[in-house]
Symmetry: D2
Subunit: 330 residues, 4 copies
């Protein structure tokens, strides 16, 4: 029995694009994948490099670097695990984009603070040690130990009436940072990756993509400053869930199917997009606005925001410790 070829649906995770390609006979040129695993901690780190246009086309993502940390434990309430993950992220940020001592950084928290799974970016901003305004009045013990950091929560177009990229551009032109770090909620294919994966890339970000709204991208080209993106998949869309589950179900039962199964054959013969569209149509129209999310989403988003904010505070203010950061916050 023929199996479904891996569908080509949207994912924000380069790692999932890679997995989709792995079924193919030959891996396309222009993609390099390196896997590190920290077994002690159960944290898997994968570095995907897209090096040329062929790779970019195969992956459906721009040329650049995509680093993924995976650990189901990041959503648990374990500060020790959080600290390990924060340190790995801080180190990877340093690898991806080494910073001058006097660099100034703007952290942008994308997303809608009113919708919990989309509130990751805004919540990270609220935990940043911002220092740009303290240049002259810096507490003596911090002098020379912190970089100039500012933080912006631009909101989403539905709340502001303004494209997120416009707000960022307006502010960037005014305050002229050396680097933007944009934090956002992403969309994943697999529910197992929801709230269990952090992706860091140097190719910028598409605000709202995680919840299905495509907007002007925010990257070096559009805002004139390098843009590092840090994201976590926090939702899976309902149609993807159904399609993937059906796919797996048919695989699991494939021994029972025969060459003559007309219905299965028909479903197989459909393009993935076609089948996905059919499922989307079948789902109650209401379901289009629905997503799949864990019960304890409020607590989990808070933990993830804490992990990422700690990582950024460590990476951007190298002269001070996590404990210092806590003391100067708020």
């Amino acid at each position: 029995m023929k199996t479904f070829s891996r569908p080509n649906f949207y994912t924000d995770l380069a790692l999932e694009n890679c997995e989709a390609l792995q079924g193919e006979s030959e891996t396309p040129d222009g993609i390099e994948v390196t896997v590190e695993e920290d077994e002690a901690q159960g944290i898997a780190v994968t570095w995907v490099k897209i090096t040329n246009d062929a790779g970019a086309e195969a992956m459906g993502k721009p040329i650049g670097n995509y680093i993924t940390l995976e650990s189901p434990r990041m959503k648990e309430a374990d500060p020790a695990v959080h600290e390990s993950i924060s340190k790995i992220i801080a180190r990877k940020l340093g690898n991806l984009h080494p910073l001058q001592k006097d660099a100034s950084i703007l952290v942008v928290g994308l997303g809608n603070w009113q919708v919990t799974p989309d509130a990751l970016g805004p919540q990270v901003c609220e935990r940043m040690l911002v220092t740009r305004h303290l240049q002259e009045a810096m507490p003596r013990e911090l002098q020379g130990r912190v970089r100039s950091v500012s933080a912006l929560r631009p909101g989403v177009m539905g709340l502001t009436g303004i494209e997120t990229a416009e707000i960022i551009l307006g502010v960037v032109r005014h305050i002229k940072p050396d680097l933007i770090i944009a934090v956002d909620a992403l969309a994943a294919r697999k529910t197992s990756r929801v709230n269990a994966t952090i992706q860091i890339s140097d190719t910028g970000i598409n605000p709202g993509a995680g919840l299905g709204n495509k907007r002007t991208p925010i990257n070096h080209e559009t805002v004139g400053v390098p843009v590092i993106a840090v994201g976590v998949p926090t939702v899976v869309d309902a149609a993807t869930l159904v399609n993937d589950t059906m796919d797996t179900l048919f695989h699991a039962l494939s021994a029972a199917a025969s060459e003559n199964d007309a219905l299965i054959n028909m479903l197989n013969d459909m393009e993935n997009e076609e089948r996905y569209a059919l499922i989307k149509e079948i789902l109650d129209p209401e379901t289009g606005n629905m997503f799949v999310t864990p019960k304890e989403v409020d607590a989990v988003i808070g933990r993830l925001a804490q992990i990422i904010a700690s990582a950024l505070n460590i990476a951007l203010h190298p002269g001070i410790t996590a404990r210092d950061v806590n003391r100067y916050l708020n």
Copy 2:
């Protein structure tokens, strides 16, 4: 091609049990269904009566009355629609359980205030005009116009370590109300019903059933006082969504299937429970803890709590208007 018989999964809505039975050749004895439709408002009201044990068995629900209001507009931000719905609920409550002038009522808000789709009950409590403590110090203009109302948010067992029924029983023995009205979030089969349906019944409630945790029921028998339950389905579980969508997909494509489709036949031959269990197993283990919910869930739960609290305030304090209620709240 044989089609799937309607599956027999759990739903809190008697209306959905009825729908499941409608495919059957003859409607079981002991079930009476009356439909009213308020076309002007687009609000459908259905009254399901289970009159004997045969009906109870066929429905999988206790003997009693189940009134359902359906309107997709209750989740919108339209105060005029909310007011119409509140008035219908207030009237139906009066039909279901007429109250003595001096009756005392305990409103119990079941569910977990930390989990938005489960916070309906606690949020209703916070909007109740409670008066039990004012017996002696009642503002003169309210005297003789309000009943003795108290409100309890017992929490969920995971937060308290105590069975919800135990807390209620302890308090009920102490304050001896004449009636309990228990408000809870429910589980539905159809995503179109989520946040668009209110069920009122005189058979009590199973705390936590909406999110999959069965506990001691709260009804006349267990607490010694009549219990009216008011609930809204706020989630659909992921496996139900997949199973139902697959079912509909196969129906839609049934012309293409043949008698020889071994896989389809196998899926058909499975008991519904068996197939559901298979899907549940296939879904990522993570997905077991996930549910399907609309993006704007925070705002919608707030509106539904407002609708129900207004209905209860009108029904329980008949001598005062909605405007009075607002003035004495808080």
Copy 3:
């Protein structure tokens, strides 16, 4: 016995500056005060005009118009009163700054959303019907009936590291509105005015002044666009409270005092600023960071935000009703 002359402390309310001047022998030139009272509703409206530099100096406020609405009932949960007040505000906004049909307006919600009494501005933003992004995809029934409105919550410098005026300037240069309406929490002298007074002025705003942090003002001169300010006093500072209470106490007891009361004479002889500074010094150092606020501040700020947002929605989108606004607001 000599009485204290009215102290000259900071207040955001022009009305309170006027009251301070009323004790003086002759009212300075350049100040015009008109009082309207809507007795039925218990809403007092006072229009203060500062017409020249003498008036500006006497008042410590820029030349321009200051309209104040006072009603203790705005903090109560009475939707009918809220609606009356919203309509008066909408009308006064129209008097103060008539708008072209195709004018575009940026609403700026100043303040810190994490600190309840300072969250008024951000909460107003969340209740605005924003339309600027819908220009092309406007629902047909809204076409020609709404103006282009956008809404920005810039945050406070302690959270962003960026001066609020810089963020606004960056965005304004990009989106070029015809008018800015800036909403902010203010500081008052009298606790009776807290959450019971709304001031509308055409002279712009000083972000953070309400909580003691002076920043770059936001007005026509600094941002290049007319700026209407809408504010509510939400706190009183502790030293002001003590000073005023002592003052009143001495007045109340003045019959008992004699010309020889050395202590009283000494306190009288102090400049107001000097006495205020002394009290500030005497108060625990901790008290410097404290403010006086009502218990139910969360609920009250929500109501005030609703009143102001309704007023702005009515004033800016004249072709639609309050009910329409609710329907299009998510």
Copy 4:
């Protein structure tokens, strides 16, 4: 010049009652005060014992033990300081009321979760490791290492219509704990103590006293089970602030006053209660409902709840570490 005798106003802190007595010529019989100071940490611990009726009358508090921890650093965001304080509290709880290995404990979080400074108790409950419901299904690694702990947030009478003591009594009769630990927000005299002091006592608690509402006390006598109270002063009332500040001001200026100062003499001759009542009357009627609170109250209450919950989790579940607690929480 005669100075004001120390006023006799209400404070929940036994330590402040002691301070008021220290001006007196001889310390009353029946009061023992022991001070420990941990200078390294800057945490002062004072143990006040009231040993007989004379002491109880002098103090205006029941016979029993009152342990106070003071540190301005508990309101800062420094996890290391929080941990030290949690450990001291846990130790003192053990001294005050040694527990059997199989004791069962009910933690009661008093106060109104809608009013931030009164939400301490409810917030502690949400951070407790509750285990009473796990007796049979206890994760193997926790067996024998945790006590049976439950947690109740009874709410306040204004929200429930039920006296808090009634709810607790109802539940206690049903679940029969060996000990109640009641957590509540308190009222202090000095603003410097607000959010900087934790009092532990074995004499029970008066719900609502911190915000001026006297209710049935919750103690061994009223509920039939020993009651340990843990509290933090989170507000100071406005009239107390004014009275104390005036008092200090007159002291500071006393050199300038003469025997002939009629007004001062009159104020001195007033009973403290009389003067306090006069100030209360002079303050705007609105101010009666107001309290003095720091700006960052939301963040601070969260930190204090975390400190106390950690202390209780350590004290009640001695076989597990802080890290374990975090892992099993939610």
